[in-house]
C-alpha cells in the first residue's frame, strides 16, 4: 500500500504540498501593514474619478498600459518617481498591468492639460501621429449615472458628499476618464512637492516633534549607538567625531541645528544621514542628544542601566 493507491490520502497530501508556498508568499503577506498602509496624503478616489477608473477597467486599458514605475534609473527618467506600495491602497482591483503597448500611466496626472486628454481620446493620431491606440470619442455619448456612482462610493467606503454626487449630473464617461487620468499619481506628486518645499525651508524653522518624549529618547539612544557611536563615542564624548557633550558645538546645539547636521552632514567628515535614517529617526536621535546634553553623562549612563 502506498499513497498512489489511496486517492483520498493522495488528495490531502497534494493540498498540503500546494499550501506551503501559498501560505508563505501569498496568505501571510496579506496581514503585513507595509502592503496596506496608505502614504500620508494619498487620498481615495472622488466619485467622478472612480467612475473614470471603472471605465478604464471596462475598456481593458490595463491590457496596454501599466501603472507602476520600476525603481530603475532609465524608468524613473522616463516616467517619473518610482511607485510605492502605499500609493495603491484604494485600488480595487490593482491596475499595474503586464505589457506596455502604450506608455506607463502611473504618473500621468498633471502631465498634460485636460484639453489634451479630450482631444487624444477622440483622435489619438491627431496628437501622436504613429499611435496605435483605438479612438474613444464615443465615451462622450454616455453619461455617468449618479445613483450607481454613489452606490460604488458607499461600497468602497470612500468619503463623498451629496453635492459631489449631484455634480455628476451631465458628466459624460469622457469627463470621468479625463478626471481619472489627472488623478493618476497626482497625490504622490503633491506629497513629494510638499516634502521638497519643507527641505528647502531653513532648518531653524523646523521643530522637534519628540522634544522631551521619553520613549523617543530611548529609541534615539539605540539608533545613536548603531549609527553614531563609532565616531562620537557611546558616551557622546567624541573620538573621530566631535564631542557632543561640549557646552558649545561648532555647528550649533539647537534642535534645528542638530537636525541639519545629521540630515545634511557637515564639512570635516560628518556624512549625511537623511536617506539612511529618515526624518523620524533623526528627530529621535536629536531628542536623545539633547537629553544627554541637558542631563549630563549620568543621565546617559543611567539610561543604559535602565533599558539595555
Amino acid at each position: 500500500m502506498n499513497v498512489y493507491s489511496r486517492p483520498i490520502v493522495f488528495l490531502v497530501l497534494a493540498i498540503v504540498v500546494i499550501s506551503v508556498g501559498t501560505l508563505v508568499t501569498t496568505f501571510i503577506p496579506l496581514f503585513a501593514k507595509t502592503t496596506s498602509t496608505p502614504i500620508d496624503g494619498i487620498k481615495p478616489y472622488t466619485a467622478l474619478e472612480l467612475a473614470g477608473r471603472d471605465i478604464y477597467v471596462r475598456e481593458g486599458c490595463n491590457n496596454c498600459h501599466t501603472q507602476t514605475v520600476r525603481p530603475l534609473k532609465f524608468e524613473t527618467d522616463r516616467y517619473g518617481d518610482y511607485s510605492r506600495g502605499g500609493e495603491f491602497v484604494y485600488d480595487r482591483p490593482f491596475l499595474w498591468g503586464s505589457k506596455r503597448t502604450g506608455p506607463d500611466l502611473a504618473r500621468e496626472g498633471g502631465r498634460y492639460p485636460d484639453a489634451w486628454h479630450y482631444q487624444h481620446f477622440k483622435d489619438p493620431r491627431a496628437l501622436v501621429p504613429d499611435s496605435n491606440m483605438p479612438a474613444y470619442g464615443w465615451l462622450e455619448d454616455t453619461q455617468v449615472d449618479p445613483a450607481v456612482a454613489e452606490k460604488k462610493m458607499a461600497a468602497l467606503g470612500f468619503p463623498y458628499t451629496a453635492d459631489e454626487i449631484t455634480a455628476l449630473n451631465g458628466k459624460t464617461e469622457m469627463d470621468a476618464m479625463v478626471a481619472y487620468m489627472q488623478k493618476l499619481g497626482r497625490d504622490f506628486k503633491e506629497i513629494m512637492a510638499a516634502k521638497n518645499a519643507q527641505a528647502a525651508m531653513p532648518a531653524s524653522a523646523l521643530s522637534n516633534p519628540y522634544a522631551g518624549n521619553k520613549s523617543a529618547i530611548e529609541e534615539g539612544d539605540d539608533i545613536f549607538e548603531v549609527n553614531c557611536a563609532s565616531c562620537h563615542g557611546k558616551d557622546l564624548k567624541g573620538g573621530i567625531g566631535a564631542d557632543l557633550t561640549a557646552a558649545s558645538l561648532k555647528f550649533g546645539g539647537t534642535d534645528a541645528d542638530l537636525y541639519a547636521s545629521i540630515t545634511g552632514g557637515r564639512p570635516g567628515g560628518m556624512p549625511p544621514f537623511k536617506d539612511a535614517l529618515g526624518d523620524d529617526k533623526v528627530w529621535r536621535v536629536v531628542s536623545f542628544i539633547q537629553y544627554v546634553r541637558g542631563g549630563g553623562e549620568e543621565a546617559k549612563e543611567a539610561g543604559h542601566g535602565g533599558h539595555h
Binding site: P7, G21, E75, P93, D130
Partner: protein, 466 residues
C-alpha cells in the same frame, strides 16, 4: 475485459468538439487583435476594441479550448486508467452543456465590458460562481471514477489530474473573492499590493495548473500508448510531480519584479522559478528517454511528432520562463513583446501540439478506427509548428529591441529614444506575427476538418458493423 465496461464516451467527444469550436473562435480573434495593433482603424466598434477583444482571446483559448480539451481528455483518461465508467454520466452531460453556456456567456459579457481586469480572472462574479459549480460537477465525476477504479495503483496521469482539480479550485476561489456592487460589477476584496500579489499567485498558477499539469497528464498517458513503450522512469515521474506542484505556488511574484510588492516575495519567487527547471525537465527527460530506440517513430507515427515537439517546447519554455524571472533579464524584457512571444511558445507549441495529439488519439479510440487522413494531420503539424515559430521568434526580436531601446542613453546621459520611437519599430514585427497566426490557423482548420471526418468515418464503420 474492456468490453464489459460501459465507458461514457459521449462527453469525451462533446468536450473535444467544444474545444475545437472555441479554439477556432479564439485563434481568429487573436489574428484580428494582432492586426488591430498595427491598424487601429480595425477597432470597429466599442465592443470590438482591442481592450475588450484581447480578454475574449485569452479567456476563449485558455478556458474554451484549453479547459474543453482538458475536460474531454480527463473524462477519457480517467475512465480508462480506472477501468471504470463515470459514476454520473448524466451529470457529465449537464457539465458539457453548462461549460459551453458559460464560455458563451463569458465571451458576451467580456465584449460588453464586464470585467474584473485581473488577467485570466476577468469574469465577473456571477460567472465565477458558475465556474465553481462547473468545476465541482467535474470533480465529483472524476474523483468518483477514481474511487470506483478496478486498477489498484493510480498511474502518473491520475496524479496530475487530481492535483489539477484541487489546485485550480483553491486558486480560482481565493483570487476571485469580490464585493458585488451590481449584477455584473464587483470590487476585489484585496487592494493594491495585496491584490497584485494574490492575482499573480493565481495568474502564474493558472499557467501551472491549466497549461502544465493537465497537459502533462495527457502527455504521460498518450506517449506510452502511442509508442507502445512504458514511460522511461517511474521514479523520475514521482520526483517530477511532487517537486513541480510544490514549487509552482511560490513563483507568482516573478510577474511583479521591481513593483512595490515586498522584495523578499519577489526574490523568493525568482529562486523557486529557477528551481522549477528541475521538475519540468524531469518530464522532458522522461519523454525523450521513452523514445530510446524508437526515434524512427518520429517519421512513421504522426502522433509522436506532436508529442515530442510538444515536450521540446515545454522544455524550452521552462528554461526561458525562469530566465525571465531573473532581475537583470526582467529589467529589459518585462512589459515588452518578449512576453507574448514566451506565452505563445507555451500555448501554441507545448499546449496545442500535445492537446492535439491527445484529441487525435482519443477520437481514434472512441471510434476504434484510424485518423481520417495522416497527410492532413502532418500538414496540421507543420503549419502549427511554422506558425508558432514565426510568432515567437518575431516577438522575441522586437521585445528585445524595445527593451534595449528603453534603456539606451546618449553620451550626455539623456534617454536616447522616446516611447513612440520604439513602439513604431514593432509594427513590421507585429504584421509578421499576424502572418504566423494565420499560418497556425490554417493548421488548426485542417485539424478540425480531420477530426470531423474521422468521426464521420467512425460512425459509418459503426453503422456498418451493426
Amino acid at each position: 475485459m474492456e468490453k464489459e465496461v460501459n465507458y461514457e464516451y459521449g462527453v469525451v467527444q462533446g468536450f473535444a468538439l467544444s474545444a475545437l469550436f472555441w479554439g477556432v473562435i479564439g485563434v481568429l480573434i487573436g489574428i484580428l487583435i494582432s492586426f488591430q495593433l498595427v491598424y487601429p482603424e480595425l477597432n470597429f466598434a466599442p465592443w470590438l476594441t482591442y481592450g475588450r477583444l484581447r480578454v475574449v482571446h485569452t479567456n476563449g483559448l485558455a478556458f474554451g479550448f484549453g479547459l474543453g480539451a482538458i475536460f474531454g481528455m480527463f473524462y477519457y483518461i480517467t475512465q480508462r486508467l480506472a477501468k471504470a465508467p463515470l459514476p454520473f454520466p448524466k451529470l457529465a452531460r449537464v457539465h458539457l452543456w453548462l461549460f459551453n453556456a458559460a464560455i458563451a456567456a463569458a465571451a458576451v459579457t467580456l465584449l460588453l465590458g464586464y470585467s474584473q481586469a485581473k488577467e485570466y480572472a476577468e469574469l465577473e462574479w456571477p460567472l465565477d460562481i458558475g465556474v465553481v459549480v462547473i468545476w465541482v460537477m467535474f470533480a465529483v465525476n472524476i474523483i468518483g471514477t477514481i474511487l470506483n477504479r478496478k486498477e489498484k495503483q493510480m498511474y502518473v496521469s491520475l496524479w496530475y489530474i487530481l492535483a489539477t482539480i484541487v489546485t485550480v479550485a483553491v486558486l480560482y476561489i481565493l483570487n476571485n473573492l469580490a464585493i458585488p456592487v451590481g449584477l455584473l460589477k464587483s470590487y476585489s476584496v484585496y487592494a493594491g499590493v495585496d491584490d497584485a500579489n494574490v492575482q499573480w499567485w493565481y495568474g502564474h498558477n493558472a499557467v501551472g495548473f491549466v497549461f502544465t499539469t493537465p497537459i502533462l497528464a495527457m502527455f504521460y498517458y498518450v506517449l506510452p500508448k502511442a509508442t507502445g513503450a512504458p514511460i522511461f522512469s517511474h521514479r523520475l515521474s514521482i520526483i517530477g510531480f511532487w517537486a513541480l506542484i510544490f514549487g509552482y505556488l511560490w513563483t507568482g511574484a516573478h510577474h511583479l519584479v521591481y513593483t512595490p510588492v515586498p522584495d523578499w516575495i519577489q526574490t523568493t519567487a525568482i529562486v523557486f522559478s529557477i528551481f522549477l527547471i528541475a521538475p519540468s525537465w524531469a518530464s522532458v527527460v522522461n519523454g525523450y528517454y521513452t523514445m530510446n530506440g524508437r526515434w524512427d517513430q518520429m517519421r512513421s507515427n504522426y502522433l509522436i511528432k506532436f508529442l515530442i515537439l510538444g515536450i521540446t517546447f515545454y522544455g524550452l519554455q521552462t528554461i526561458q520562463g525562469p530566465s525571465q524571472a531573473i532581475r537583470a533579464v526582467s529589467q529589459v524584457m518585462h512589459y515588452t513583446d518578449y512576453l507574448p512571444g514566451h506565452v505563445h511558445m507555451g500555448t501554441m507549441g507545448w499546449v496545442a501540439l500535445t492537446a492535439s495529439a491527445a484529441i487525435y488519439y482519443v477520437i481514434e479510440r472512441v471510434y476504434k478506427t484510424e485518423v481520417y487522413s495522416v497527410p492532413l494531420a502532418n500538414a496540421h503539424f507543420w503549419l502549427a509548428l511554422i506558425g508558432q515559430l514565426i510568432f515567437s521568434v518575431t516577438m522575441w526580436f522586437t521585445g528585445l529591441q524595445q527593451g534595449l531601446m528603453m534603456m539606451q542613453r546618449n553620451a550626455d546621459g539623456t534617454l536616447a529614444h522616446t516611447f513612440m520611437e520604439a513602439l513604431k519599430l514593432n509594427y513590421p514585427f507585429w504584421i509578421m506575427r499576424g502572418v504566423g497566426g494565420v499560418i497556425f490557423f490554417l493548421g488548426f482548420a485542417i485539424f478540425v476538418y480531420n477530426i470531423l471526418m474521422t468521426i464521420q468515418k467512425g460512425k459509418r464503420l459503426g453503422a456498418a458493423a451493426a
